[in-house]
């Protein structure tokens, strides 16, 4: 079993990668497929759609991917985020888009607040000087510009960064529910 923090980071990377590129990062697939013999590499490498079909059969996606889908499903349920990203908005006037976005923004933000506690990595004001300490974590602090010398280094804070302080996701749906981002709705007259 992979450690929790790694799973968490995988979950996020999968989430955004699925969202914006439609695929799961290869390195994650490799780690997961070697650690979890149940899942065949072919299935994991396939497109998400094919995976969903696979899941609808019998086998489950790895837990980390399930959690990514779950977060997406929560943002969709409470904030309609997937509907929004999947819609071609190029033809709408700004006013119409603005009205929708305002509403989506409020509800997605509420969902985010509910399930994930986010905090800035550095708490100083942006565009103010900060000191990068000895032994800093390059994953948490990215140096840009004239990167040279030894820490501690003085620089200007350009972005405070975000870190997840706590995740309070609800329990996972069972079986096929894990691949569902939003159920189809059928109204019975």
């Amino acid at each position: 079993m992979i450690g929790f923090s790694t799973r968490l980071s995988f979950a996020f990377r999968c989430f955004f990668s699925l969202l914006f590129e439609g695929k799961i990062p290869q390195d994650i697939v490799r780690v997961l497929t070697t650690s979890n013999a149940e899942v065949e590499p072919v299935a994991a490498r396939a497109a998400p759609q094919a995976q969903a079909q696979k899941v609808a059969g019998d086998k489950l996606m790895p837990e980390s991917a399930d959690r990514a889908v779950q977060m997406l499903a929560l943002l969709q349920r409470d904030g309609r985020l997937v509907d929004f990203l999947q819609e071609d908005v190029s033809s709408y006037p700004d006013g119409q888009l603005g009205a929708a976005v305002r509403s989506i923004h409020i509800s997605c933000r509420q969902a985010l607040d509910r399930y994930m506690k986010l905090e800035p990595i550095l708490s100083s004001e942006e565009d103010h000087p900060v000191t990068v300490p000895v032994g800093f974590d390059p994953a948490a602090i990215k140096l840009v510009g004239n990167v040279a010398g030894e820490p501690p280094i003085r620089g200007l804070l350009r972005h405070r960064g975000w870190r997840v302080a706590a995740v309070t996701l609800p329990s996972m749906p069972l079986g096929s529910g894990r691949a569902i981002v939003a159920p189809a709705e059928v109204e019975i007259p």
Binding site: R77, R80, D83, F84, Q86, E87, V89, Y92, Q96, L97, A99, A100, R102, S103, I104, P170, S171, M172, P173, L174, G177, E187
Partner: protein, 615 residues
């Protein structure tokens, strides 16, 4: 033996809450805590809340994925109760029970028969209003027991003193049904308390001893409770007893089915009309969304008094999210017109609410108030409740005979809005001026903190007060009760023998007191069931025990009959003369007894609640 905890439960029309305090620590003035109530808020998601929405959804096989409703203490609950029930009910109303409490007090319905959800599809096995109320209490009991008993303390809720609140306007039938619901839920030590009193107790708790500085002898406090579904008024007098201030609840209003939900719906209807003028069609599903959005927009405008409008956006359905988005706005001017002028209009104290029931609402089953004007209902309350009140000497009255409060205590979610409070005080002040009194200022408005939990907290405070820790409001019977006696007259075909009413419990009869009707005896046959007709009045407050009335117009209404069967060994079939005794118990219940002439045997009359015809 005293219980370890004192528990207050607010079984509300739209939300319920539970507060408690440790009775061992009561002597040092223990803090009253509000309980967290875990509940399913979405499929697969259990979250802690401090309110339990009083909604019950009866799930079918097609409603939720298997296992998605499981609670920590129940893997497959039969009903969904709380937040998810409310949400899901908006999508599938046929399986939702809402406002069960209003059904409890609706004499036109058969309240012990499975009638809810009202107009549910046939395959659903329905519940009675009593069962639904009992389900909510059972839910709270399970949470309590899971928390306290599993924690190894062994303090089951069944063994605690529970103070359960009911609207002051509940009659003896509705109170009896509430007691039965508590009994069915396994609560063994229940005392009923009126909600407006509980709200006042919450204020007392928040004030500590300094409440004595806020009110003085001769003051009259109006408790104005406008919740999600109902409006309830009470009057409390401040008098002097043994050199200390004493409080007494002297009047209660009628049951008015009018509240915040009506207000939000009125706003949603307005915006629906606006959109339809623009050529948009709003389907019932979108109206739900509009309703919800109107509530948020309303709260925003109430909070941000400088904003002139708030956007209301309905996202498109299906995948055309942005394309189908409908945008409109709620203007402050509209909010004022609909809510302030519509529900709290400036009216004269003589303006009475329209009595007729609105046709369109009838199909919903509940007798909703015909007039939406809260201020008119208040005018009726203040003018009507004081007539013939035995306490009238202590009630401040003006030139026109109107009861004139010196203080107002607000309760209920609607009254959180400053605009509405101000309006209500403004209207009240116009009446006070007319009646020749000074107007009320901010110091005359008593603020109970934490309106959402005030009633539950107040109930727990009352429990503590009963053990000698705090001041108590004396209340007594909220109505006058009568036994119907058919006149001995020659029968006329097609006409019922005229009914006389014998007063057995006068208005205000105090807790822990008894009354005997010595002059009147009834001959009852031993071993055979006897039935007494039972009546009550909210208006006739002057009648004394033993008074016999003949013509009362519409001032008295009939309740379910009282049944009694005399059992006496070896006396089967003999006629036994008995007299009636009445009693208001310490736990706020009403009891009627038949006693034999020598007083050696007594039989209790039981309220036989059943469906009444002709409604």
């Amino acid at each position: 033996m005293d219980s370890e905890f004192i528990v207050g439960i607010d079984l509300g029309t739209t939300n319920s809450a539970l507060a408690y305090c440790d009775s061992a620590a009561a002597l040092e003035g223990a803090r009253i805590e509000v309980a967290t109530i875990p509940q399913v808020v979405n499929p697969n998601e259990v979250a802690d809340r401090t309110l339990l929405p009083s909604f019950l959804y009866i799930p079918g096989d097609m409603d939720f994925p298997k296992g998605s409703l499981s609670l920590p203490w129940d893997a497959e609950p039969k009903f969904v109760i709380g937040e998810l029930a409310r949400k899901r009910g908006a999508e599938s109303p046929g399986r939702l029970v809402a406002s069960a409490k209003s059904w409890l007090s609706h004499a036109g319905a058969n309240r012990t028969a499975p009638i809810l959800p009202w107009q549910a599809p046939e395959e659903i096995s329905k519940l009675s209003p009593v069962e639904v109320s009992s389900q909510y209490l059972q839910y709270l009991r399970t949470i309590w027991d899971t928390h306290h008993v599993a924690g190894g303390k062994g303090h089951a809720l069944a063994k605690q003193d529970v103070f359960l609140t009911v609207p002051a306007s509940f009659d003896e039938e509705a109170r009896e049904l509430t007691r039965r619901a508590a009994e069915q839920a396994g609560l063994q030590r229940v005392t009923l308390l009126e909600e407006p009193q509980a709200a006042f107790y919450a204020w007392l708790e928040s004030q500590g001893d300094s409440w004595r500085k806020r009110v003085k002898v001769g003051d009259l406090v109006l408790v104005c409770d406008v919740g999600g579904g109902t409006t309830d008024f009470s009057l409390i007098t401040v008098s002097e007893e043994n050199g200390d201030l004493a409080l007494k609840r002297v009047a209660v209003g009628e049951h008015i089915l009018l509240g915040g939900d009506n207000m939000d719906l009125a706003l949603a209807r307005l915006l629906q009309q606006k959109l339809e003028v623009e050529g948009r069609r709003i389907d019932p599903y979108q109206l739900q969304g509009l309703w919800h959005q109107c509530r948020s927009a309303k709260e925003y405008l109430f909070e941000h008094t400088k904003s002139q409008k708030q956007d209301v956006t309905l996202l498109g359905k299906g995948r055309k999210l942005v394309g189908g988005t409908i945008k409109t706005e709620l203007l402050r001017q509209e909010l004022n017109r609909i809510l302030v002028e519509g529900f709290f209009p400036k009216v004269a104290s003589g303006d009475m609410p329209a009595r007729q029931r609105r046709i369109g609402f009838q199909e919903l089953g509940l007798p909703y108030a015909a007039d939406a004007a809260v201020t008119k209902h208040l005018a009726r309350f203040l003018s009507q409740q004081v007539q013939n009140n035995p306490e009238s000497a202590n009630i401040r009255r003006g030139r026109g005979g109107l009861a004139c409060p010196t203080h107002v205590l607000f309760n209920g979610g609607v009254m959180k809005a400053d605009m509405l409070r101000e309006r209500l005080v403004e209207v009240l002040n116009s009446w006070l001026t007319e009646e020749g009194f000074e107007t009320l200022g901010p110091q005359n408005v008593l603020d109970a903190p934490d309106l959402e939990h005030a009633v539950a907290r107040g109930a727990a405070y009352y429990g503590r007060a009963r053990r000698g820790q705090g001041v108590r409001i004396r209340s007594g019977a909220s109505r006058t009760y009568y036994i119907g006696i058919e006149s001995a007259m020659p029968a006329v075909p097609g006409m019922e023998a005229p009914l006389k009413a014998l007063c057995v419990v006068p208005f205000g009869m105090e807790e822990g007191t008894e009354a005997i009707m010595p002059d009147r005896e009834f001959g009852l046959v031993v071993g055979e069931p006897a039935e007494f007709r039972f009546l009550s009045s909210t208006i006739r407050k002057q009648d004394r025990v033993g008074d016999l009335l003949e013509n009362w117009g519409s001032e008295i209404e009939e309740l379910s009959p009282l049944d009694v069967t005399l059992t006496l060994a070896g006396q089967q079939g003999t006629v036994l003369p008995v007299r009636l005794e009445s009693r208001v118990t310490e736990i706020g219940t009403l009891e009627l007894w038949c006693a034999s002439r020598d007083g050696a045997n007594r039989w209790k009359l039981e309220l036989n609640i059943r469906e009444k015809s002709g409604q």
